[in-house]
């Protein structure tokens, strides 16, 4: 007899992000409300904690850059809306940084469980530092997980979005440490005939499978 389990299958890169309806600091929002925009859905362990405070200030600092990339931000923790409001007011009062994006109050852990944001070996009651980069069609494009003790790198999040949007627009890949303006990788040929032609196509080729071009 098959044993029944309550395991939740986590969403993976390339899959449509599971929709949800959640109470946030900017009203009751659904994931589908963000369709047409890219979205950085991220979790933090708890309000009024030091690393999270630095991260929220840093997310606020890149907010305008994200908007230029048609990208919204949506935070999440298992704290209440009142706690979120008190915290972001405190951050503004103490540091002058206004938090412009909504934060989910996931008290019943419904959203965090759907997205695998609770890692029991780190904490059974708090979410770890997850980042889901979701495109305008609600497809998951990148998943990052950081432990409780390590704050995230905002420039890397911007770099990933730039890389994904460049890939979508130009049908190319981006090499290690790529940043906007750098040469991109031409997708490798899939037939021997294409491989033969590749080195004659005017790209900067190290060999038939490793060719770069400037955009």
């Amino acid at each position: 007899m098959e044993e029944k389990t309550d395991e939740i299958r986590l969403p993976l890169i390339g899959e449509k992000a599971p929709d949800f309806e959640a109470v946030t600091t900017q009203g009751t929002l659904r994931l589908s409300d963000f369709e047409g925009n890219w979205l950085v859905l991220f979790s933090h362990p708890a309000d009024f904690t030091p690393v999270c405070t630095t991260e929220f200030m840093a997310f606020s600092e890149i907010y305008d850059e994200l908007k230029k990339r048609n990208t919204e931000l949506l935070g999440l923790s298992v704290d209440s809306v009142s706690s979120h409001i008190a915290w972001i007011r405190n951050v503004e009062e103490k540091t002058g940084v206004k938090i412009p994006f909504p934060i989910i109050a996931d008290l019943n852990k419904e959203v965090s469980q759907k997205f695998g944001m609770i890692h029991p070996e780190q904490s059974k009651t708090e979410t770890v530092r997850c980042v889901f980069i979701i495109d305008a069609e609600s497809k998951i494009r990148t998943i990052l997980y950081y432990p409780l003790t390590t704050g995230r790198n905002m420039q890397e999040i911007l770099r990933i979005i730039d890389a994904l949007q460049t890939t979508d627009k130009h049908k190319v890949a981006t090499p290690a440490n790529w940043k906007p303006g750098d040469p991109v990788v031409v997708p490798p040929p899939s037939t021997t005939e294409q491989a033969e032609e590749r080195t004659k196509e005017g790209y900067d080729c190290k060999d038939w499978y490793l060719c770069f071009k400037k955009l």
Binding site: V23, L29, D33, E72, S82
Partner: protein
């Protein structure tokens, strides 16, 4: 706790609710057009429209939203 950005607890539209209703005064609009007219983020417009529909100030016709008589009375 239920947080409603467009309709307050007493059933009246909030500032952002009034902004949406005002945008609709000239005729039916899509959420994208309302976002452009009000300067509000699209996700906030979509969320707010759900509340305004529920409160009876706005109705959806296909992809567009338009004021109900009750909604029309709230904006000059």
């Amino acid at each position: 706790m239920i947080v409603l950005p467009c309709v307050s607890a007493d059933g009246k539209p909030t500032k952002s609710g009034i902004a949406t209703l005002t945008a609709l005064k000239s005729g039916a609009l899509t959420p994208e057009a309302i976002a452009e007219a009000t300067g509000n983020a699209l996700f906030r417009v979509r969320s707010g429209l759900r509340e305004l529909v529920k409160a009876g100030f706005v109705k959806q016709v296909d992809d567009n939203y338009q004021l109900t008589m009750e909604g029309n009375e709230l904006v000059p």
